[in-house]
Symmetry: C2
Subunit: 109 residues, 2 copies
DNA sequence: TTATTATATCGCAATATTACGATATATAGT
DNA sequence: ACTATATATCGTAATATTGCGATATAATAA
């Protein structure tokens, strides 16, 4: 008990849930917004900007990297993070697909 | 420690995270897809369809109701759930707004 | 080499989520 | 009134997430 029963859902449902979960935190939304605004940034910029501990920011970056939406390039002693355009577009497509399902313009029952 | 630090983020970031979190579960994705497919359904239909306990489905429905994306009308002994079109469209707009931020077509750093 | 800077990872405590049995509530049918 | 049906809520165990200090790693600077 306690864990999500992934086995009873299909690929699409699990994939969508995983992506949404990775995005479903205000710090990770803020991180993405900051990266977009600045084009790219390093972990320490985010520590200054958001006021969370370095370990916490690093952990959030890892979760965003896990779904591929950002990527990091090593630049000397720091890591430069930016949006992975291809992944970003793919996620956009997946969400659009889900949300573009036609809703009946009628009241309930 | 442990709880999300909502106070350091802005309204938009917290709102977006809350909505995404409510959607970020395969069961809730499946519930929404089923409601869309059938136009409307009752809790028990979902219990049969998804194979989760009635208490679990009821809890997931509650979370979807919390963000307003679905609404329930009492119909005799059962409750008929359907998409709240207005809320659905609003959420769609909010997500589109977030995802339509222009991404630079350049490599990282 | 030693110090500095930037990040990642480990370990842990606090909190949140998920799932479900049991039970409460409420309506319809007999 | 009694029974059946449908849903919501409570309580609880298992698991996951969040946040951070401490520490490890790795590259640059002095």
């Amino acid at each position: 008990m306690g864990a999500t029963k992934k086995d009873i859902f299909n690929e699409e449902q699990n994939r969508l849930a995983t992506v949404l979960k990775a995005l479903a935190h205000p710090a990770r939304i803020a991180i993405l917004q900051y990266i977009i605004k600045q084009d790219a940034c390093i972990c320490n910029d985010l520590v200054q900007e958001l006021g969370l501990a370095q370990a916490t920011i690093s952990q959030h970056l890892k979760e965003l990297k896990n779904i591929g939406i950002i990527k990091g390039n090593i630049e000397g002693t720091s890591v430069c993070y930016c949006i992975d355009e291809k992944a970003w577009k793919q996620i956009k497509i997946e969400l659009n697909h889900f949300f573009s399902d036609t809703i009946k313009t009628e009241e309930c029952c």
